[in-house]
């Protein structure tokens, strides 16, 4: 039951906000995946979107503007048994947090990044976000936007993310499936969610969405072999430069090692004893460490 995933906190989004759709889809996905609430962590940024961490009955770490990815990475690397999802705004993840967004792809840490793409900085009153089209003038702008938008799917692809998908906030069932797929995927994933912001974004409206998106049907997102990756990427590029934005799983690649595997390769202890499982004291004293064996080169 998705209801048990609701926290006691009232979601203070505007009536009609796309975030409600994302919240519903997330709770459904968590419920259907039978996720253990204690071992799940929502790490979010600052913005309307970031508040989602408070609205779900599971661990919520509502971090700093743009910094959800570093926090989430630290949590996941220190305790790989936790399941970690990042939620953030387009401003948060692709503006101030862009450096971290790229870095996570390069590491391929097992974290799903859900981008609430509403084209604006909602919580600070509707300034242009990095995904807002050039020449577009939404309600909060004094003049039309003069900056070109980024495409998070393509940037994610170029950065090494191994799962790429796009959903729509009001297509809750579809979005739920994307969330499930993304959470099941082992590796860093980007799930871009087109999220209407009725308060500020009078351009990327529901109508715009129905005219400018399509659902993927016969598309094969899976990269079967390492060698196929480049070809798949080209296809994605073609598709993303088409007239309409695709909704669905765009790419999934299980051929690349996840960060945890990379660490384990260098340090086999990590797999069984990640930091979170290591004892660090013995009866309130430091461990009985051998100086000769551990700090040999410093001994004289």
């Amino acid at each position: 039951m998705a209801a048990e995933w609701s926290s006691d906190v009232w979601p203070d989004w505007c009536p009609g906000c796309g975030n409600f759709g994302i919240l519903s889809a997330l709770k459904l996905a968590l419920s259907e995946l039978r996720i253990n609430k204690r071992e799940f962590v929502i790490v979010s940024g600052i913005g309307c979107s970031g508040k989602i961490a408070h609205f779900v009955r599971t661990n919520g770490v509502h971090t700093l503007h743009g910094r959800a990815i570093p926090f989430a990475s630290g949590i996941k690397v220190a305790n790989p048994e936790l399941k970690v999802v990042v939620h953030g705004g387009d401003g948060d993840l692709l503006g101030i947090g862009m450096g971290h967004f790229i870095a996570l792809g390069r590491r391929n840490i097992d974290i799903l990044v859900v981008i609430h793409n509403n084209g604006v900085y909602g919580l600070t009153k509707g300034q242009a976000s990095p995904t807002l089209g050039k020449g577009v003038k939404t309600k909060g702008l004094a003049f039309p936007n003069i900056t070109e938008p980024v495409n998070p799917i393509l940037l994610g692809m170029m950065s090494g993310y191994t799962f790429l998908a796009r959903g729509y906030a009001y297509s809750v069932e579809h979005l739920k499936d994307l969330l499930k797929a993304g959470l099941n995927h082992k590796g860093a994933g980007v799930l871009e969610v087109i999220q209407p912001c009725p308060t500020w974004n009078n351009v990327t409206t529901t109508e715009w969405v129905s005219n400018n998106t399509f659902y993927l049907k016969d598309w094969k997102p899976l990269v079967e072999k390492k060698e196929d990756l480049a070809q798949k990427m080209k296809e994605v590029l073609s598709m993303e430069y088409g007239d309409k934005r695709a909704l669905g799983i765009i790419l999934e690649d299980n051929t690349r090692e996840v960060y945890q595997e990379r660490v384990t390769k260098l340090n086999e202890i990590y797999d069984k004893y990640p930091p979170s499982k290591q004892k660090i004291e013995s009866n309130g004293r430091i461990l009985p460490i051998s100086f000769e064996k551990t700090f040999e080169k410093y001994l004289i």
Binding site: E39, I289, F291, T294, K297, L299
Partner: protein
């Protein structure tokens, strides 16, 4: 016995190895040793040197004048000859004699100009030869040894360049002149180049040849380390760790339970992370692995602090390590840790600021910044270590205090400590690990529960359901803007400042050295402590009774404890490496007194023992603010 050796040359030209050979050798001989490294923010070519002091009493500073100067290039000789004492020794390769002292392209123009006018003033011709003549006149023994020739003989048939072993040659010469047994040199070479048999062999051969060459030369014996007994002293002293400040902190952190470290490369902090990464595995006496810290190099310091916080939330002792520019970027994360009562440890190595400043030079100018960094108000602990041993122990304590009080802790160090090399006794394993209030969570868990003692029991991510937010929050950690809740939470966080002052032992607040009854009290902190404490015997030989108070807890400031010591003094003098006198500033604020004299230094070089003596003398003579200018 108290001996100061300067060895210098172009950065990347073997100076570091030369210095480490000297340090290893003297330490192996059972002596105490303290080596300060000076280098440019440059990988290869600019002037760099090691000032190494060795003594049979414990030391934590260097001292002028120097007894021995070894120069790998003319610039070194030109830069440091004036630091030599009468009767001192200079060693260099005969082959450079015709070279100009100040005309190398790599020399800083301002320095070159200054050196040239000094040479002119003293009537020295601008060549190594010219300097030799002058030094001889000053009673300095000049050893212009044909190193190039000696080495090229040794290397005949190999394709190793002469420069590669020039450092071994010069250090061998110095050690030979000091009367050290060749054994000691061999040992130093073996341990420094451990695992590289070929290199060890070549270097030993070079040492052989140099010892041979100098077999008849005049010696300059080191008392406690002569002849057959060279290594006996060492055995008497017992097992020690020979390490730089960076290493000391790394080892301390591992002892203290650090299992997750994040960093972005920066001088002089990065070496610490590399050391932790290289240690990789912690063994017990049976050879079982009992721990393994994970080190992540992040995309920037903003990420480094965020990841470290993430690690802490999972219950792992996590830290990040940086210097000024990095810390500036961590300020935002620090504030999040503050409002969320996260026991995060930031290891902060000060270097010359502001901005990129002097990236490889010493400074103690970030004290006030580390105390006030972050918008809004929250409790934090700032602890400044005074030497290698403290640094190692404090690394453990920082984790303990962070977890007991659930506050971010800044472990404040400096370049002087990070890059100086000395020995410390193997630390006793019997250090407590105190993790504070930890619970398993459970159903109705409140991360920020308001309790009598202001500390909310802490559950780790994975064991319960909990919320964190950088916004003001209620007991559950959910955003709350209610004015009454705001006040309660604000007070909960701020009152920890008082608790910390009440609960920390005096020993961690400040440390006192010198006679119980004193006229003058010298106040100091950080690595400057070494020079000040080392100067005590001589200071007390001047007629006044002088003691030292080294302040360690910088925030919350232990005003009462410090005031007790001030109360017993007639004159209060602060000694520190910054412009403002930041410790003095805090003392004036909190202890409501006037600091009578400030001895300051801000040229990027550490304070030496002789400078303390000199600074104190000038204060006694009536100056209120003395600026020290030593070092190159």
């Amino acid at each position: 016995m108290d001996l100061n050796i300067i060895i210098g040359g172009p950065q990347g030209g073997g100076v570091e190895t030369a210095g480490m050979l000297l340090i290893r050798a003297t330490a192996t001989a059972g002596l105490q040793v303290f080596g300060v490294r000076e280098y440019h923010s440059n990988i290869k070519g600019k002037h760099s040197y090691f000032h190494i002091r060795t003594s049979n009493k414990p030391i934590n500073s260097i001292k002028h004048p120097a007894d021995i100067l070894g120069g790998l290039d003319p610039e070194t000789l030109a830069t440091h000859f004036s630091e030599l004492r009468k009767g001192g020794v200079v060693v260099y390769d005969e082959a450079i004699e015709s070279k100009s002292l100040t005309r190398s392209p790599s020399i800083d123009p301002a320095k070159a100009k200054r050196l040239r006018s000094a040479l002119t003033e003293k009537g020295i011709k601008d060549t190594v030869e010219g300097l030799r003549e002058y030094l001889k006149g000053e009673g300095v023994s000049v050893y212009a040894i044909p190193f190039s020739k000696i080495i090229s003989n040794v290397l005949k048939g190999t394709n190793i360049q002469i420069e590669r072993t020039m450092n071994t040659a010069i250090t061998s010469a110095i050690l030979s002149i000091l009367g050290m047994k060749k054994d000691i040199v061999y040992d130093a070479i073996s341990s420094l180049f451990a695992g590289k048999a070929g290199i060890i062999e070549v270097n030993r051969k070079v040492a052989d040849a140099v010892y041979e060459e100098l077999s008849t030369a005049e010696k300059f014996q080191v008392e406690s380390a002569k002849g057959e007994d060279d290594k006996k002293g060492h055995e008497e002293v017992g097992k020690r760790l020979l390490l730089a400040g960076n290493d000391a902190v790394a080892i301390g952190k591992i002892l203290g339970g650090l299992r997750f470290q994040t960093y972005y490369p920066i001088t002089p902090a990065a070496d610490e992370s590399l050391v932790i990464e290289e240690i990789a595995k912690i063994f017990d006496n049976e050879g079982r692995i009992i721990g393994s810290p994970i080190v992540v190099q992040t995309e920037d310091e903003i990420s480094a602090v965020g990841m470290a916080i993430g690690g802490v939330l999972t219950g792992v002792r996590s830290a990040t390590s940086t210097s000024g520019p990095g810390f500036s970027l961590m300020v935002e994360g620090l504030g999040w840790a503050g409002i969320n009562e996260v026991p995060l440890v930031i290891t902060y190595y000060q270097r010359g600021g502001p901005s990129t400043g002097l990236p490889t030079r010493h400074s103690q100018s970030d004290l006030l910044f580390s105390i006030f960094a972050g918008h809004g108000e929250f409790a934090r602990i700032v602890i400044a270590s005074g030497d290698h041993r403290e640094a190692m122990e404090d690394a453990v304590k920082c984790f303990n205090y962070a977890e007991i009080f659930q506050v971010p802790v800044i472990h404040l160090l400096d370049k002087g400590l990070a890059n100086s090399v000395t020995t410390v006794p193997v630390p006793s394993i019997d250090i407590p690990i105190v993790r504070g209030k930890i619970v398993d969570g459970g159903e109705e868990y409140k991360r920020f529960k308001l309790t009598e003692d202001r500390i909310s029991p802490r559950a780790f991510l994975g064991r319960t359901i909990q919320w964190y937010t950088g916004d003001e929050h209620n007991e559950y950690g959910n955003i709350c803007e209610d004015p009454v809740v705001r006040e309660e939470m604000y007070r909960k966080r701020m009152e920890k400042r008082r608790m910390i002052l009440e609960e920390l032992p005096d020993w961690d607040k400040a440390r006192f050295y010198g006679p119980e009854k004193y006229d003058d009290l010298l106040l100091t902190w950080g690595t400057t402590k070494g020079a000040v404490v080392d100067a005590l015997p001589e200071l007390n030989a001047t007629g006044e009774r002088v003691s030292v108070l080294q302040v360690r807890l910088m925030e919350p400031f232990p005003a009462d404890y410090v005031s007790e010591f001030i109360a017993g003094s007639r004159r209060v003098v602060s000694i520190e490496a910054n412009y403002t006198g930041q410790l003095a500033w805090l003392i004036e604020r909190y202890c409501k007194i006037n600091v009578d004299g400030k001895v300051l230094k801000y040229n990027g070089r550490t304070i030496s023992e002789d400078e303390v003596l000199n600074g104190y003398r000038r204060i006694k003579e009536g100056e209120t603010s003395v600026v020290l200018t030593g070092g190159e």
